[in-house]
Symmetry: D2
Subunit: 277 residues, 4 copies
């Protein structure tokens, strides 16, 4: 199990949203998550971010638990970003190493995954064979998540991210079916560029991991005029997160099962997620 958070909107200080002590931040969830199968996500973490007016993301990833990484605190305290995504990891089998830390990156796209492909080792070779040979050498880690990302890139993630993810999961489910693996996919995924955020909540059969999206900030600001924290947030911002950051009524909604959420600054759209062949 893992936990992740993504932000898109007007530039905001990253440290502010990652380290507030009285909030269920992503860093807090690294040591004491509330809603996951396991409370500890201490097997490394990563942060990917865009700076203003750039489509070229940077990353900071480490194998240390996020909760005691001094550098993460230092780096984010002066970092303002209009688009960023953070992930804390609970390893399931794959080694704890920097190349296995999310977000994964290709060109202008960042990718995170919470969940797993069941018995991935048994279908890994099929997946590898389906990945574009030009892309394949860029895989440097060993997780199911990174391979899922490169398969999605092969299927056109850069052009039509939702369709690419639907083909990716369809491919994996068929390969798993051939291998006799039941209920193979469990996931929430996040795909972030400087301009758009796509999140999907899906599992083949079981209940997928939790996922929440922030509600309209302009409305919330009018409802809570005295709520200082809220007023400082850019009005066009969206956050998507494994668990709600705070407990303000009306601030967060659960992403429905088998649903894709597409957000751009100031707009949000929901579509069904349907794996296909």
């Amino acid at each position: 199990m893992c936990r992740w958070m993504a932000y898109l909107g007007g530039p905001i200080n990253v440290g502010l949203l990652m380290f507030r002590e009285d909030r269920n931040t992503i860093v807090h969830q690294s040591i004491d998550a509330s809603q996951g199968a396991e409370p500890v996500n201490g097997d490394g973490f990563g942060l990917g971010w865009f700076v203003a007016d750039s489509a070229d993301p940077s990353r900071y990833r480490s194998t240390e638990p996020a909760w005691n990484d001094e550098n993460l605190r230092e780096i984010t305290r002066t970092l303002d970003s209009p688009a960023w995504i953070a992930h804390v990891r609970a390893a399931i089998g794959s080694p704890v190493q920097q190349s296995n830390c999310h977000p994964f990156r290709h060109a202008d796209t960042l990718f995170v995954h919470n969940g797993m492909i069941r018995d991935f080792r048994r279908i890994k070779r099929d997946v590898v064979l389906a990945i574009d040979p030009e892309l394949y050498p860029q895989i440097v880690g060993s997780t199911d998540s990174e391979h899922m990302f490169f398969l999605a890139l092969t299927f056109g993630l850069a052009d039509d991210p939702l369709a690419a993810l639907e083909r990716t999961i369809g491919f994996i489910e068929r390969a798993a079916d051939r291998a006799g693996i039941a209920d193979p996919v469990q996931m929430t995924v996040g795909v972030l560029t400087s301009e758009a955020l796509l999140a999907v909540r899906y599992a083949t059969r079981s209940l997928p991991r939790t996922l929440y999206h922030s509600n309209d900030l302009e409305t919330l600001k009018r409802v809570y005029p005295d709520f200082e924290d809220l007023q400082m947030l850019p009005g066009d911002a969206h956050a998507i997160m494994s668990e709600p950051l705070g407990s303000l009524p009306g601030a967060w909604s659960e992403v429905p099962v088998s649903t894709a959420v597409s957000a751009t600054p100031g707009a949000i759209e929901f579509r069904p997620f349907q794996p296909r062949g």
Copy 2:
């Protein structure tokens, strides 16, 4: 909060007692302790051990969480030792760095501490001034625990460990009193040489951290003749641990509050622990 375990007796495979999946081992307690204030002890760990016929201990310490340290698993699987002590750390303020990982070592002695000296920063200088100037330069970390160890060495830990610890805690409590710090000491400590194991459970006012000692193994073996795990243990062995390793009725007893336990192979003795000036 931290958790620790010490073993003294006939040589035993260290990995066996640290990694059994169906037991509440010290490694299990690094991610999911039952009885502590906090379940996660993921801020580094350490193992100190003696090999047979040597009074010179070795150590393996790391800042990674014990639960995902492959090297610890590899090192202990072929390591047989008649005396060893392991510690998993939950840092309280001090940096997560190897020099702050227990056990601390001086000559033939290993030392671990679970607990804290409250507001240690305010009395650290007093403690430093009381430490033997010949010993002082050997302090390389920044924890209250390491300073406590070196103060105890100054007070004769090598010759009369119980008296030295009583003077150490007495000194700390008086310094804390002068500084207006209430209830300053919270501790279980373990002191191990190749021949003897001393453990103390104490707190100035509050309830000290939990501590358990194993009961007479020869008796247990007679009571449970069919219990394979038990029969393989050397009959003269003692284990002292923050939490019981297994759930065999009669196998473990809680160390009473303000009590010191002295164990040598085949013998165990309990004495009151009384800090003194």
Copy 3:
């Protein structure tokens, strides 16, 4: 031995000056320094920086060799800073741990040191006793360098940095003299705030480590109008470095022995450095 570099002037991209492949950057010097006693400075590194309009510095420090730290590359590629200082370490005795990585920091001041206090262990206690008890608890590492910094803070580094450093070195030399340590101090040090950079090159008796300062950039720009690299640098900038960054004739001058260099944007001043009692 270590190597360091400091920059003060108009904001510049930090990664540009740290990673250019065809230059003798500080990162290059981590694996292959030219002028030091040892070519490898692989025992950790650190970067401290100010963002524009802030007097509050951030740090990134790691125990990995700088040359293979992906995060350093990622962090600096989008980091623009008007004042920053970087250090690559070759440990002499002290543990390789984050708290021993330079720059050290107190409030608005960053500090780096290349060199050593000979036999520091023998005078460490004297130094500790002389450090302001209010400051002492903030020491978290074990290096001679960090203690030198806190002694200088005790002697007024924030108000009159040169005088404070002269008293610091005077104190250390007298303590060393009492302990029978010959030629105790070997150093280049850098002290950086958001507004000023002070560098000192000094050794009690031997030849101090190398140190260079950049020459007047406006002049250089006129002399080399076609030199693109040069033209992009802010005209008021100063760099001070253990070894010259490039090989442009006239760009760098050696800091004379027993000399302090004080730089502010657009101005530079040289004074003799005289330890005093």
Copy 4:
């Protein structure tokens, strides 16, 4: 470039041969190798060893430079082993992560490689397709070396190691030829079980990395009866190393180019190495 050392013979203290200060040990070569293309091999290291009467090897691998790894020192000081192999790494492209540190391991076999497969990324997919699908999921790192090892396992390394390596290199050279890569293979490799050590020195066209084997110890002991270091070594021992450990005349011989050395306790055999289809 990397450096490695393997030992096979009567049990010997591992620390003794890895850390002697006045010798060109493998740890010394991590910071200052004499004969390699690069003097620094600071991008991680690994040690694999057998204990007496066991065919099941253990490993200790770390991404830190070997020269400052305290744990390596601690672990090896009481470790006696009849068969062990150590490797210090200089990364060429692949991430510095534990899963990329040698030795690689499968069942009872350890494998190290110094050198490279040129432009491996361009033929990686071909190699992956040729690897036994049952073995493929066990690859957890991203180096050319690990893939070479698994290809050799596929070709029967466990049964006929020399033939398997010849087929492996033949396969790689043909794949490289199809991809237009000239002079693809540069290598010394070591393959160690509890009973046998195989080493190969080979490059497609250029001069391969250096490799040395120890000469007959019984003879050396008679020639140098007063040489204490030598007398303590088991008479049936063999060492194979990238660079000679000491400078005793007659102690080491260079392994010829395109040659395989097979050693068992007390016996050594040389054969030509001929890649084949």
